[in-house]
Symmetry: none
Subunit: 250 residues, 2 copies
């Protein structure tokens, strides 16, 4: 077992999530890449083949990371209990969200990992993360690359990000957010559901087509990095707005 | 052909040298890694198998890098005309020479590449660079890694170093926010005033003491860095919430 030194403790709070991986060799390569950088928590969402001899072979000395890997049925399951989710993307065109470059994104993740569980999600080899998957990510991360050929191998991308995470963990971290607890994934999803319901009831959102506007709200709140208390305040405000207004006579 | 932009011209002066590579898949992976970062000059010293179908498969869209690869009989031949040679090592004990960490080493190489040809040499997968090979390197470079397991896959190490070379050549700025216009101070103040009025009217805010909660909203939106269109959407939502839900009795 791989026990990170106190200096790089945040690495123990970072899970690497591989979603819908097609090639088991890449899962093994990712495990090896993680272990070389001192990360050990791997979650696999619907891998095409796992366990697999090719994964074992490519993992080399990181068999322990594969053995402890958690296989999940959905991305939401893999993200349980996280306070921040970063997702890798290579597609600028999809991003209305501001993204972070690999180095800055790693520093942001490590900063938040000082306070809670975080995840870094890698999509399928050919198609990347789906829009639905990306909508669960607060922070899209892009690896700077050759615009004419930006297709990194999955294992190589995991290597590079784990390297940046290790360096970010070794360097003095970001300024902490104080004692304010960050909202969990579930709390943030609860806020979005509440907002959607209220906005539909008020007539602001077209119930047949709520997505475009809801996506804008997701992006805004993802950038803010919501605190638990802020989620409560926002939901309290929504609840008051939902109440029927009866004009009081004074 | 891959023509680096003027900004990253130094990358065209950097050759990647793989010495005595055992697994042809790693040669392909290295070619792919190089191309994703805008490098294209690969030299192979006595590769065990080359050309090879496995190399082609792992190169993916970087077949051109493999096609232009130069096969050499000795490391000295591969280093011809260089003014500086860096060599990767994972073995501290071998190093009488002071070494550089990956990031600093990449910056040093890029700096020298402004003036002449440079090379970055990777040794055999199991044994690394021999002492004789290292003696031809001016600058040993080490990748920071988990001391309990520091064995990076060769292709992954090439990916990581080419990434550092690209960043050193390019120094990308902060992630741009795209074409989304940020809201002006006045627009943000307008939103806060609107929010305060609505929240008081709904009964959520105590009109005698609105400040504490309004400050929380200010903080949240300040962290998000509001866009102009987001201010419009939020104000549109507030306006809908303000509409009476029960017909006024007149």
């Amino acid at each position: 077992m791989n026990s990170p030194s106190p200096l790089i403790r945040p690495l123990a709070r970072i899970r690497i999530v591989l979603s819908h991986t097609s090639h088991p060799g890449n899962i093994g390569a990712a495990a090896r890449a993680m272990k070389t950088m001192g990360l050990s928590r791997l979650a696999l969402v619907n891998p095409k083949y796992f366990p697999d001899a090719e994964a074992d072979a490519r993992a080399s000395g990181a068999a322990d990371v594969l053995e402890q890997a958690v296989v999940c049925q959905s991305l939401a399951e893999a993200l349980r209990d996280t306070v921040m989710v970063a997702g890798m993307t290579a597609r600028r065109r999809d991003l209305a969200l501001p993204f972070s470059w690999a180095r800055q994104g790693a520093a942001q993740l490590v900063g938040v990992a000082a306070q809670g569980e975080v995840a870094l999600v890698f999509g399928n080899e050919s198609s990347g993360l789906s829009n639905e998957e990306l909508s669960l990510c607060h922070l899209p991360i892009m690896i700077p690359a050759n615009p004419d050929y930006s297709s990194l191998n999955l294992g190589a991308a995991v290597q590079l990000m784990c390297y940046e995470l290790r360096l970010a963990a070794e360097l003095p971290g970001e300024a902490p957010r104080g004692e304010l607890a960050l909202a969990t994934m579930e709390e943030i999803e609860g806020l979005h559901a509440h907002l959607e319901k209220s906005a539909i009831a008020s007539g602001f959102l077209n119930p047949a087509q709520p997505n475009r506007l809801m996506l804008r709200f997701r992006r805004l709140f993802a950038r803010a990095g919501l605190e638990r208390e802020e989620v409560s305040i926002l939901r309290g405000l929504l609840t008051t707005f939902e109440k029927p207004k009866i004009r009081k006579k004074s």
